[in-house]
């Protein structure tokens, strides 16, 4: 540990004996090290600055370190911004009391990577569909557009409510179809909440290495099927952020 370090930043938990990926820099560019105990090791780096964490570089360092470990083997991500006073505390407070628990979680995520899929409607296309399909929406739209906002307040609230309902019905059907196409290639998934006119689906998948190619190919197919009305983005492979217990 760096001599001047005042605290110990924690990225995650890995099996003991894991090798630190070469040239991996942590928060503030500090070297990433392992603190081992029993069959576990905590991935840490020294922290010197007395400033709030949360700058872009801090967030990026956190995720880059974890994703680098995830490419080599199993890792349990710890929440961003977790800091303990020193390495002795890492063993006493974090590792020692939780050996069984952490080994179990490591086993669950071993051989898997997380992929985050984000699907967004093409706003103009989907709104045009909604207006075309719902006469009441079309009518309210005619009544309210090009009118003074104050004069049409309640009509606009009603219009928005109807549009919101129509969109969520659509999302439910199309979001489920996307999930169903991809789930055969994943061992777990976590649908994240979202909102906004264009929101279609935000979901994290836990994908076994041997399924990765099939998963990515299927995601391509889904994106191609939806390309005239939605955009799909796939992030990954990532550390299994969504698939570790919070406690």
């Amino acid at each position: 540990m760096t001599v001047a370090a005042q605290a110990c930043y924690i990225y995650g938990i890995v099996p003991a004996g894991t090798t630190v990926p070469v040239e991996l820099a942590g928060v503030e560019g500090a070297p990433v090290e392992l603190v081992e105990h029993d069959d576990l090791a905590a991935v840490v780096s020294g922290l010197t600055a007395e400033r709030p964490l949360g700058k872009r570089a801090d967030l990026v360092a956190h995720s880059e370190v974890l994703d680098a470990f995830a490419r080599e083997g199993a890792v349990v991500p710890v929440r961003f911004g977790s800091v303990l006073p020193d390495t002795a505390d890492v063993v006493a407070e974090l590792l020692a009391p939780n050996v069984e628990h952490f080994l179990e979680v490591l086993e669950q995520v071993a051989g898997c990577a997380q992929f985050n899929l984000r699907a967004r409607y093409d706003e103009e296309v989907v709104l045009a569909e909604v207006v075309a399909e719902h006469p009441e929406i079309a009518e309210l739209r005619e009544q309210t557009r090009d009118q003074p906002e104050d004069a049409t307040y309640y009509a606009r609230v009603r219009l928005g409510e109807l549009v919101s309902q129509a969109l969520s019905g659509r999302r439910e059907i199309e979001g489920s179809a996307i999930l169903e196409a991809l789930l055969p290639h994943a061992v777990a998934y976590n649908v994240r909440e979202g909102e906004g006119v264009d929101h279609l689906l935000d979901v994290a998948f836990l994908v076994p290495t041997e399924q990765r190619e099939a998963f990515e190919a299927e995601a391509e197919d889904v994106a191609a099927r939806l390309h005239d009305r939605a955009r799909l983005r796939l992030l990954g492979p990532l550390a299994p952020y969504d698939f570790v217990p919070e406690g």
Partner: protein
Amino acid sequence: MTVASQRHSGGYLERPKPSGLADVVEVILDKGLVIDAYVRVSLVGIELLTIDARIVIASVDTYLRFAEATNRLDLYEKGGKDLPEVIEGMQESGARGKTSGAIEGAKSKATDAIGSAKEALSGEEEEEEEQEEPRRQRRPAKKTSQRRRRQEA
């Protein structure tokens, strides 16, 4: 928006590297094992970042934004285009990126921590390079963002 994207063999699936602030925030915020608060060294800033992303917005505001988006549409006025034409026109004019900007601008307070970071990303490359604290980017003045959306629309 697609600046950082890599497309596989001309496919439709965007595969960006998750190094943009918006993606990273979205991926890691509120995720991962939580260490007991009382053994942690307290660093002000983290808690704020986490809590603010959870603010729930009033539904009336949401509805008004949906209504605004619907009324922004120019479906019938421009020579009564039907749907396939609208789609084609959008692809040809490359309006996709522009739409995306408007969409990101419409993000509510609930996801402003994430949404505003996305706005930063969907804008100029220099903006993405800014070493700005996400907390500070969080609240774009509402009126400003509405005005900008109208100009784009």
